[in-house]
Symmetry: C2
Subunit: 304 residues, 2 copies
């Protein structure tokens, strides 16, 4: 995964500067869409994202600000003549939501798609799919209705060959792939060349955890420890903790504590309440507990 493109950083009440929740992860010239609030297709078009490169859609939960852009988007896929497969993941009910819209309009999708629904509680990471390059895992969040987070993780990358060493030890071409995977090399004279002389450690695999919407609780999400990027909602400032608790959301301050506890590399916050015009002070609140925090904005691109 190479970058995150923020399509919408708002919450239930959209503003003229913030669309409701939607994010795009670019991976090897394909895109994964996470949540799809109203207006997502226009945002995608605005950013010139090639629609048929979107192969997976991950829906966190069935609140409108996370799904009301979905029927329009996939209907547009169809009108544009899409032929490639689409996988949509989400809580039980997402199929009914989509199919009701298409049934009532007496239309259908002219491309192959699968809707994969979840209804279990996942207190640990649960593998739901993979591509050649990435794995997708789901986990339960703590919200008013059934809500899931997603962990998108690059598969372990091969070790990097040291060209000079391969030449020095006369390693045949055919062995290079197993050496990339970490194998030692046994020469014809029986001598063993340890892998560490032949390779360098691989580029570390990127992992991106998406947590929205979620009321942070004790001992939650520990399985995300050490993730590179953690996106966590920060709907409210900490002074509104009572409202956060009541609506099952979190404060920026709490998101910072969580990021610190999980020892991630970077915390991204978003899903800001419509009451905030500026979010600098939410950023500062999170930073009190976790310095490397980014308060995401609509249309922002974050290179991993």
């Amino acid at each position: 995964v190479e970058k995150l493109i923020v399509l919408g950083s708002g919450s239930a009440l959209p503003t003229t500067t913030r669309n409701p929740s939607a994010q795009l992860i670019k991976s090897n010239s394909y895109y994964y869409l996470i949540d799809c609030g109203e207006g997502t297709q226009l945002r995608l078009r605005d950013l010139k994202i090639p629609f048929n490169r979107i192969t997976h859609i991950f829906i966190s939960h069935l609140h409108g600000d996370h799904i009301y852009g979905l029927p329009g988007l996939i209907s547009t896929f169809s009108l544009l003549g899409r032929t490639n497969d689409l996988k949509i993941f989400g809580p039980k009910g997402i199929k009914e939501f989509i199919q009701t819209a298409f049934k009532l309009s007496e239309s259908y999708l002219a491309f192959p798609y699968q809707i994969i629904e979840f209804e279990d509680q996942y207190n640990d990471l649960h593998l739901i799919g993979e591509t050649k390059h990435d794995t997708f895992q789901i986990f339960s969040l703590n919200h008013r209705i059934k809500c899931y987070g997603y962990l998108i993780k690059e598969k372990a990358k091969p070790r990097k060959l040291i060209k000079e060493a391969l030449e020095e030890y006369n390693i045949p071409l055919a062995y290079r792939n197993v050496i990339k995977q970490g194998a030692d090399f046994q020469a014809s004279n029986g001598e063993i060349i340890p892998n560490k002389l032949l390779t360098l450690p691989p580029k570390s695999a990127i992992s991106y955890a998406y947590c929205s919407d979620n009321r942070i609780k004790e001992e939650q999400l520990l399985f995300l420890k050490g993730s590179k990027y953690l996106y966590h909602e920060a709907t409210f400032e900490h002074e509104l903790l009572d409202i956060a608790k009541k609506t099952m959301h979190s404060t920026a301050y709490e998101a910072g504590i969580l990021a610190n506890k999980l020892n991630v590399n970077t915390l991204l916050i978003g899903h800001y309440s419509g009451r905030y015009t500026k979010v600098d002070f939410l950023l500062n609140e999170a930073k009190q507990n976790f310095k490397n925090t980014i308060a995401v904005k609509d249309k922002q691109v974050i290179e991993f």
Copy 2:
């Protein structure tokens, strides 16, 4: 009714300059919304329309580009604490569409609303409601799925009193209202003062007919004869008549013919295919048959 505000002039494929169908009619400081494509609530917010002044929503049909903004909009009404009544009119199925969205999100609308559904064929105007100032009539259109047009019409206005004449004939205050309604005045000496000496004709009542989506056919919509404003879809140029027929849409050229036949005052065209960046030539096509045509644009305000 005082003005039309165009919220979206596009069709199924939204573009960055044209939202899908939505229009707003302002009447005596209230608003009637006609169709509600995706992004309508943001457009309303952008134009600073007070949400709780929207009292009626009229939905033409259940294709996505006319309804995908509806769940988000009314959910926002609720979140903003609306208390006043909302009436939603539309074809059978609109209730299921709305209620499925709210059922799945386990949310509900915290204000009073009614959904009035239609499933009959109306080959003539059919009264569906009124306010103090306006009447609402529905009629059937000719499209791929059940589709209705709406005629919003001001009630007949009272005649205008001629101040000087009232004084000259010593008309008591108590009689003024019946005279406004057209009555003659009988003086105490038996003399009858005809109404036409006391009043001027009222300002003519505005009528606005909304026809989208519709494949124009022979002898159609004759009951709209003499309407002041006719909005009719003009999805295609006339060279694409075959596609228009196949998809049950109309061309700009045909819309002009219709306006001419119905002898309206002004024709408004819209619902342009996503293939068109500029619509000047659609306007010119319509004008070949009906000179007083306006090709509407997003955010355009047309004072009646």
